[in-house]
């Protein structure tokens, strides 16, 4: 056969998609993006202490992590949650679709409400947890730590629903703390006092709409605000101006992380490994193994992972349990090994701190059943506290306790208190 000659393979016609792609090439020069609030955060980020949150430059701490924490508990704290992954899910089948893929009963989630939920793969292993906002009968927003677009799209086959990632388009702020309600009211968001916990409503802002929900990650009175990216700065300024006399402060992740631990909340890929990222298959977890069993609703119709989860329950195949621990003393037990009767290794602490609110040494730990499940006494943690280049090894008694570690009435009080 004769040698073929080469044909020029170029496509000649211009294409707007190609143009948009080409414009986006330059991202390689900025490995960590700024969020829509970045100009304000940079101005306040006196410590220049950044970390990578899903490709964004986010602050560990802005000026003083202790004071940032106390802003959450005593004043009002502003935390930029824009890097959180957000999906817009819309269509006549959106409710049925979300009911099919998430653990909780979405048909009972009314428009104007939010619920904390989780979703699993076919084997019943948790892909992620997150919050589902019902913005209208047919429109939802799903917020999560990890990214799930292929899974969400593939799961949508057969449903009249559209799924779009809107992380970059929508800026998010958490306003948390006892004075947060007063700040919003003073900023002129009339009617915000009517929001009960897990309610959401839309408010006018700068010729656009801001969605405010009474939700948060602190166990305190607090709100989350979502706004189109181009209205982010004016929203920030509006809140900061209104909150000046109520002690409003911008905060970084370290402070928020303390508050969430006091509230007993878990973080994907910190307290458990998500199913699409776990390289080692024994790290996968079912909802019952990370304290999310309460979400599983066997009464509702079929949902992803249902059969596997119910079978694991029936055949007692659940191998782990996530518990709250109260540890004697005051030295945090971060990543300590948990022992039964001081010698038998039964689990690992995933998060720990001295709680300034509870005045207790608290921790979240994963234990191997039956420890933490039917056997709940005689646990010990081995703390390796590095002090001036020496480990001070401590063996401390740990007690299984209910989460949250602190319960604040102001979180749920109606109407919210005017601090």
């Amino acid at each position: 056969m004769a040698q073929a000659t080469r044909k020029k393979p170029f496509v000649t016609e211009a294409d707007t998609a190609v143009e948009a792609r080409t414009i986006a090439q330059s991202h390689f020069r900025t490995l960590r993006l700024g969020t829509p609030f970045q100009p304000r955060i940079d101005a306040l980020g006196l410590k220049q202490d950044w970390y990578n949150w899903a490709g964004y430059r986010a602050p560990h701490s802005l000026w003083d992590e202790e004071l940032e924490y106390f802003a959450i508990r005593s004043q009002a704290a502003l935390f930029d949650i824009s890097p959180m992954t957000k999906y817009r899910i819309e269509g006549p089948d959106a409710e049925a679709y979300l009911d099919r893929i998430t653990l909780r009963d979405v048909t009972r989630l009314e428009p104007g409400r939010v619920h904390y939920t989780a979703w699993c793969d076919d084997e019943g292993f948790v892909l992620d947890d997150g919050t589902l906002f019902r913005l209208s009968p047919t429109r939802f927003r799903l917020c999560s730590q990890e990214r799930h677009l292929p899974w969400l799209l593939d799961s949508g086959i057969g449903y009249e629903v559209s799924v779009e990632e809107e992380t970059e388009a929508v800026a998010g702020l958490a306003l948390q703390g006892p004075t947060s309600f007063a700040v919003l009211r003073d900023a002129g968001f009339a009617g915000v006092e009517r929001l009960k916990v897990f309610d959401l409503a839309e408010f006018a802002h700068d010729d656009a709409t801001v969605t405010i929900s009474r939700t948060g990650f602190t166990g305190d009175l607090g709100y989350e605000l979502f706004v189109p990216a181009d209205k982010a700065l004016s929203l920030w300024d509006r809140l900061m101006a209104a909150g000046e006399l109520r002690g409003i402060r911008a905060i970084g992740y370290t402070a928020l992380n303390r508050a969430r631990l006091e509230a007993g909340l878990i973080i994907a890929n910190a307290d458990f490994a998500t199913a699409e990222h776990a390289i080692r298959t024994d790290r996968l977890r079912m909802p019952d193994e990370i304290g999310l069993g309460f979400m599983v609703d066997p009464q509702k119709g079929h949902f992803n992972g249902r059969r596997a989860i119910l079978e694991a329950r029936a055949k007692k195949k659940l191998r782990h349990v996530l518990v709250g621990l109260e540890i004697e003393g005051n030295i945090p037990a971060e990543h300590a090994i948990v022992y039964y009767r001081r010698s038998q290794e039964v689990g690992l602490v995933s998060a720990a701190m001295w709680s300034p609110m509870a005045k207790r040494n608290i921790a979240i730990a994963s234990l191997q059943r039956p420890y933490g499940d039917t056997i709940v006494d005689d646990f010990w943690v081995e703390i390796y506290a590095m002090r001036e280049l020496q480990y001070q090894k401590l063996m401390k008694r740990a007690k299984v306790v209910q989460r949250p570690f602190i319960k604040l009435d102001r979180r749920t009080a109606n109407p919210p208190a005017d601090f």
Binding site: A54, G55, L149, E276, I279
Partner: protein, 539 residues
Amino acid sequence: MKAWDAIVIGGGHNGLVNACYLQRAGLNVLVVEKNDWVGGAATSRELTPGFLYSNCSYVCSLFRPEIMRDLELPRFGLQVISYEGGAVFTRDGDYLANYRDHDAHRREFARFSRRDAEAYDRYSRDVTRQCRFIQPLLMRTAPDPTSFKPRDLGELLYLGRKFAGLSAEEMALTLRFWTMSISDFLDEYFETDVIKANFALSGIIGTALGPMSPGTAYVLLHHYMGEVDGSVGAWGYARGGMGAVTKALAASFKASGGTIRTGAEVDRVLIRNGKAKGVVLAGGEEVYGKLVVSNADVKRTFLKLVEEKELPDTYLRRVRNFKIRGSSGKVNIALDSLPEFPALPKDSPVYRADMHFTDSIERMERAYDDWKAGRWSADPFLDMVIPTTLDPTMAPPGKHFMSCFVQYAPPKIDGRDWTDADRDGFTESVIAQIAEYSPGFRDRIVHMEVRTPREIEAEVGLTEGNIFQGELTFDQLLFNRPVPGYAQYRSPIGGLYMCGSSTHPGGGVMGAPGRNAAAEILRDLAKPTLHMSQAHDVI
């Protein structure tokens, strides 16, 4: 009449690794190399004044760190310069880059498909799971499943336990990985042509199969093996070209007292009473050795260096049928200035990384169709690097060396040998492709070396020019590589061993076959192997 303790035929990287380990165990070892230089397929040659050519292998990632450490290669001058990723140019004037930063990588993919950008995590999880399963096997001798020796049973048990330790999902994935085509495998994760092409290229390099041929998914794994548990990490350029790897090996070998004879081509292995006694060089000189190790591929070793009558007929037939089909060529180019690619921003790290022009699996498969028809690809697949963007020692200031790995090139053209005219046609298919993406490229060319399978076989000694000394398909792996029953570096001839890429775990500048063969030889000699590091842990 002196008899060496061991004679290693061929000074390629595996021959040298093997020789180093034997010499360090106290043996008196001679390496005989037909060329006037050592290196085999890992060489740096000054083919035009001022330019060093990595004229066969061209990047470094798979070389086992345990071997680098044992043989003190950094001390003997080896430096590997990591590079930052790579790109596929698209026909619409854009490109798809791979960046080392996870988020930059995702954003880059999202320019083409947000869905595929997010699918990468699951893909990378599955590939990593498989690499973790296979990587520990690289530095172990494959068990003989028909043997009842305690060690073989132990190794089989190890393999069985590793497999049994997998979840049902992983077992399914493992079987799929070892049998699927890379195209089908990628379809499970991605839907964008250029993104699939970007990953598929690792599935076809060095293999006479197309991206739609079953078995190519494993070839991809083989290329990812260097990246598990941080043992090596990124792909890199050996400073001074790939010859720096074998130069360091040769220096290490000599420092431990080894002897190398270059310009000494072996005509045949000297066999008496079914036992190797040495080698006969091309001039007729006989060199005696208590054992002989061949770094040459299995076909060259047993069809050219050993007389047929010495071999059992089944063995002979299996060696003849071993798949070692030539599929690629090399175009090595000296340039008087850095080529420009208008699609790439001038400050793009891609200039320092690997570049490709085949932006769909369809195009790759069409390129393979040409191979099947016995001709070089009209629209070839190129793996192109310009190492001088990171290594100034290989070219005069401002000038550059470019290495183009070219696929597909058949071992024979339409059933006959390659001619010089064929080679020129092959060259033109490559230069024309580059020039379409890089205006003025032809004018920058100072010198060129073109190697079709004909030149690779004649000059390097790789049968049919196959870079892996035999294809990495499941039927030719583990205890079937190269021949069932002879996967443990031994042969039907007493005292004749193999240590090249034809043996487990296969090709690439990895060094594992050379090391594993040394371990087997020392076992036969009842010599200690304390100077050989254990394989890195995968936990």
